[in-house]
């Protein structure tokens, strides 16, 4: 299993296609938590469940103002068909050319198979990795880890805010 980037690391920026004529940069999402979900492939049964689950929980992610993006090495047309079939409400990014470059930057690429690991990252408002997790390739990692990380991030921000306002008041 690849060694994925650890919490505390600045999340490498990237710009990847979302559709044939649209792209998304990580820096565009600054100021809100971001969930990056690397996964091996569209259509494979486990990923299907994983993405379907994130789809169901999407309103919950929005409570944390978190943006969720899926990333795999599939092409934009493949993503488009997959997203349409599963009614996905969040973007799928195409790490297609150069193949897996973003996954490699996050330590989430499987050289042998040429696909992304099933790796999850929660990135904070400043673009720093707050939590990361790499699941065995055949296991759907669920969403409990992500939600816990988002909750912890929110608490951290709140307690930080309290410290700041106390400092200002004193």
């Amino acid at each position: 299993m690849a060694r994925i980037l650890a919490p505390g690391t600045l999340a490498p920026d990237f710009t990847l296609p979302v559709t044939a004529d649209q792209s998304l940069s990580l820096r565009d999402l600054r100021g809100q938590p971001v969930v990056l979900a690397f996964y091996p492939a569209d259509w494979s049964p486990v990923c299907g469940d994983q993405m379907a689950l994130y789809n169901e929980i999407h309103p919950e992610f929005q409570k944390y103002k978190a943006e969720v993006v899926g990333i795999s090495v599939d092409g934009v047309w493949c993503h488009a068909a997959f997203a349409r079939d599963r009614h996905l409400h969040f973007p799928l990014l195409s790490d297609f050319e150069p193949k897996g470059a973003v996954a490699k930057a996050y330590g989430a690429y499987r050289e042998k198979e040429g696909v992304c690991e099933r790796a999850l990252f929660v990135i904070d408002e400043e673009g720093v990795i707050f939590w990361s997790y790499c699941s065995p390739i055949a296991v759907n990692p669920g969403a409990d880890g992500i939600l816990e990380a988002l909750e912890n991030l929110k608490e951290k921000r709140q307690s930080h805010g309290q410290v700041e306002s106390a400092r200002r008041a004193s």
């Binding site: 689950l53 169901e56 929980i57 599963r86 969403a143 409990d144």
Partner: protein, 183 residues
């Protein structure tokens, strides 16, 4: 990661005695074919263990891939509110291929439930908050698909066939405790 975060409580749909040594919790989706497959197996497992097993069903509808799952869950909850949860639960699983609203209403009628009230409850999504609660509790417990089982609060990763479930439940029966008491 693999623990049941929401303990079995008053709000749950429960079959069996509170003091049963083993509790099996299922997170399920009424339109999921795997849950449909597991349904008669669960009934057989319950029969096999009798009073030693308590069974709990919680909703985990994956609505984007199973368009009728949520409505079916609402209908089951409606039946539950009228004291007939398990009859509706069984009837839905036995008719997984035809879970349209009209059929659910028909089922309610067959169970002697007020079908007009069911139509109203479905229109208002009266029981949806409860289903969402089940769902989010499942997510927090690491449920990632259906069916997901927990045995005495621990996630069960083994086979959903009769033999696998029976073996896993037998392992948690308290004969070892008795042994200790004797020594």
């Amino acid at each position: 990661m693999a623990k049941l975060k929401v303990p079995v409580g008053q709000a749950d749909h429960v079959l069996g005695e509170e003091d049963a040594p083993v509790t099996l919790v299922e997170y399920g989706d009424y339109e999921c074919p795997h849950c449909g497959h597991a349904h008669p197996i669960i009934n057989a497992v319950r029969k096999h263990f009798g009073k030693q097993l308590r069974f709990v069903f919680r909703n985990f509808p994956l609505t984007e891939i199973h368009p009728h799952a949520e409505m079916a869950a609402e209908a089951a909850e409606f039946a539950g509110a009228n004291g007939r949860f398990w009859e509706m639960h069984d009837a839905i699983f036995e008719n997984q291929q035809r879970l349209e609203a009209s059929f659910l209403v028909q089922l309610a009628g067959k169970l002697g439930l007020p079908s007009d009230d069911l139509i109203g409850a479905l229109e208002k999504h009266q029981y949806l908050p409860r289903i969402k609660d089940d769902f989010m509790g499942g997510v927090r417990s690491g449920v990632n698909g259906t069916p997901t089982f927990f045995i005495n609060g621990e996630r069960y990763e083994g086979s959903w066939e009769f033999e696998g479930l029976v073996e896993a439940i037998e392992d948690r029966l308290p004969r070892k405790t008795e042994h200790r008491r004797a020594s």
